[in-house]
């Protein structure tokens, strides 16, 4: 088992490198040697060693310089400096620069064996921990979705079940809950997975542009149509078309879309030839589409055509058990991507995340972790790294709807009332969220006659 751990011994005196290497090999480790700092750095470029034994006094690059170069290549490297009695002071300086230990040569055999054993034991635990963590995440992972919430796991099961059908799917959920990720999971776990996945945000484009975007156009069909263009329906042939923000499309497009869904064929804008496609449509919206239908804003026939299979993604605040899992997942990925050495989240930090309401859902959590990783100074995300959440919470407070035509004073009254509702009447918390002091808040509550 020990042979999988590689150790590099660096010393310009061959007798030293060889005798230490031989001793460590008898202990079962795989050992390489280097006779200079340069050679050691070259070898460190080629492979990652669990432990580096580095002699302090070497011609050319000395031990400390060598160690610093190695640690640039491998941040986690354990360096043990070897020193003679005369240079113990330098060894202490090396410890300050990040050496894990130092040994004075000639040293007692017990010292080296125990030292190496101790470091390897920690590395074994770290490796085990990383494997377990990966296993745990894998257990809660479905494509790019990570969750251990029973409601989400039901969704994963549903996705598996419907993945290979052609029925239209309507994915509903608040912004940032991962509607597109669910759509992708449906696409990639079904037999269309090899085909294209084409996503269109219906809210981003004006009606005419969206029409040409979806169905394509013929050359000269409108100003600016300088060439023939394939629409998203054609591009998604044999695969899946994801229509995000479907609740925002115009009545005319609702009719066009209904026709495609019914007949699986359409005309390009300005075209005369009907084009047949084999496309599965997954639509998504953050709106209450049933209410839009009741109020006449959305065609009921299209609604029923889209809503063959309904997937309702719960907001993050209703599945708080996912917060630590997702936060760790984002931390692992972002600390790597951003090149920041942030290894974990403290209990206090986690408590802040658990207490937050996440109006922006998983996307907000991801952004929060990214912001905290960038500004973190300690290597572990603590409560202080998430202070911005408390400030952000106020404007995003749910339960505040503003009718048009309010005066500024009325707006202030409404906003204070909403904040107090959110803090369940806690004046201190409301004042903090509003960025004013308590006495000012009391005064305003009194002036506006806000009930508490």
């Amino acid at each position: 088992m020990r042979a999988r751990w590689h150790i590099l011994v660096v010393d310009d005196e061959e007798a030293m490198t060889e005798s230490l290497a031989a001793w460590l090999r008898e202990d079962g480790y795989t050992v390489d040697t280097a006779s200079s700092g340069r050679e050691a750095i070259e070898k460190a470029r080629g492979r990652e060693y669990a432990i580096y034994f580095v002699d302090l006094k070497m011609p050319g690059l000395d031990g400390i310089e060598t160690m610093m170069e190695i640690r640039k290549l491998q941040k986690e490297a354990s360096v043990i400096v070897i020193t003679a009695y005369a240079t113990v002071d330098t060894a202490i300086a090396a410890m300050k620069e990040g050496a894990q230990e130092y040994v004075v040569k000639p040293c007692h055999p017990q010292e080296i064996s125990l030292l190496v054993e101790r470091i390897i034991r920690v590395k074994n635990l770290q490796r085990e921990n990383a494997i377990l963590r990966r296993k745990l995440t894998r257990q809660y992972r479905f494509h790019d979705l990570v969750s251990k919430s029973p409601r989400m796991i039901e969704i994963f099961d549903l996705v598996r079940e419907i993945a290979s059908q052609r029925s239209t799917v309507l994915v509903q959920g608040e912004s940032g809950t991962g509607k597109e990720l669910v759509a992708r999971a449906i696409h990639f776990s079904g037999d269309r997975g090899e085909g294209p996945f084409v996503a269109v945000s219906c809210a981003a484009l004006a009606e005419t542009l969206l029409e040409s975007e979806l169905f394509g156009h013929e050359k000269g069909s409108f100003t600016g149509a300088v060439a023939q263009k394939q629409g998203k329906f054609e591009l998604a042939d044999g695969g899946t078309l994801f229509l995000d923000e479907i609740g925002d499309i115009s009545p005319k497009l609702q009719v066009d879309l209904l026709r495609v869904l019914q007949e699986r064929r359409f005309f390009r804008v300005g075209g005369t030839t009907e084009i047949a496609v084999d496309v599965r449509v997954i639509a998504a919206t953050h709106r209450d589409l049933a209410a839009d239908v009741r109020e006449g804003r959305f065609r009921d026939d299209l609604y029923y055509r889209l809503n063959v299979i309904n997937v309702q993604i719960p907001p993050l605040r209703d599945r708080r058990e996912d917060v630590p899992l997702l936060a760790q997942e984002f931390l692992d990925r972002l600390s790597h991507e951003l090149g920041r050495e942030v290894t974990g989240i403290s209990e206090e930090g986690l408590r802040v995340l658990m207490d937050h309401d996440w109006p922006g859902n998983v996307r907000e959590l991801e952004n929060a972790v990214e912001r905290a990783v960038v500004t973190c100074k300690t290597g572990v995300l603590g409560a202080e790294d998430f202070v911005f959440l408390a400030r952000a919470a106020a404007p995003a407070a749910p339960g505040l709807s503003l009718p048009a035509g309010l005066t500024l004073q009325e707006l202030e009254r409404e906003y204070i009332a909403a904040t107090l509702r959110r803090t369940e009447g806690n004046v201190k918390a409301a004042a903090e969220a509003l960025g004013i002091d308590r006495s000012t808040l009391y005064e305003k509550v009194k002036r506006y006659e806000i009930p508490r």
């Binding site: 020990r2 007798a15 030293m16 230490l20 008898e26 202990d27 079962g28 000639p106 055999p109």
Partner: protein, 190 residues
């Protein structure tokens, strides 16, 4: 004949050599012979440390491996060292042909205790199996009773037996080097 040979550097008690030979025969199931005494090379002595270089003794042994011997184990009363360590009980070429065991620190007298010839013979026997085990490619074993476990002090050493644990024995018998050695021995016998 492929055998293990044990050669003393200078005067070494015969009873200790016999105990080492018996343990080696039992552990490796190979014939063991007493080799000719070897002169200690003067260059092995290092005045600055007042100790003897085990590496130099290994070099000397390597030049004197009898043609019929698969392995040669040297035994010395000298206190041995390797450059990076303050002392060693013995040293071996890992997967090589020679090994050396020092009796100096195995003697209770070295630690200010009364002589104990039986304990000395037992420790020397265990150390012999340990060092020769390295020449067959065995590395340190985590089983504290196995002769291949690492001994840092006499308490460690006294807790060990001279018979390799089942895992080390299996590794030994499965090794290409041991199979080759055994084939040579069998070939000569038949």
């Amino acid at each position: 004949l492929s055998v293990l040979a044990v050669a003393p550097f200078g005067p070494v008690p015969g009873a200790v050599l016999s105990a080492m030979e018996a343990a080696l025969g039992g552990a490796f199931r190979l014939p063991v012979v007493r080799g000719d005494p070897v002169d200690e090379p003067a260059r092995a002595f290092t005045p600055a440390r007042a100790q003897w270089s085990s590496t130099v003794l290994l070099e000397e042994l390597l030049a004197r491996v009898p043609p019929a011997a698969a392995r040669l184990l040297g035994v010395t009363e000298r206190d041995l060292f390797v450059p990076v360590l303050s002392f060693v009980y013995g040293q071996a070429q890992l997967g090589g042909r020679v090994a050396v065991v020092s009796l100096a620190r195995l003697r209770p007298e070295f630690h200010g205790l009364p002589p104990a010839p039986a304990a000395l013979a037992r420790r020397a026997a265990t150390e012999a199996v340990h060092e020769v085990g390295h020449t067959f490619g065995l590395v340190h074993c985590l089983d504290r009773r196995c002769p291949m476990s690492l001994s840092i002090d006499l308490a460690d050493l006294d807790g060990k037996t001279a018979t390799p644990c089942p895992a080390c024995a299996k590794h030994l018998e499965g090794s290409r080097e041991m199979r080759r050695t055994r084939e040579r021995t069998e070939g000569v016998r038949t």
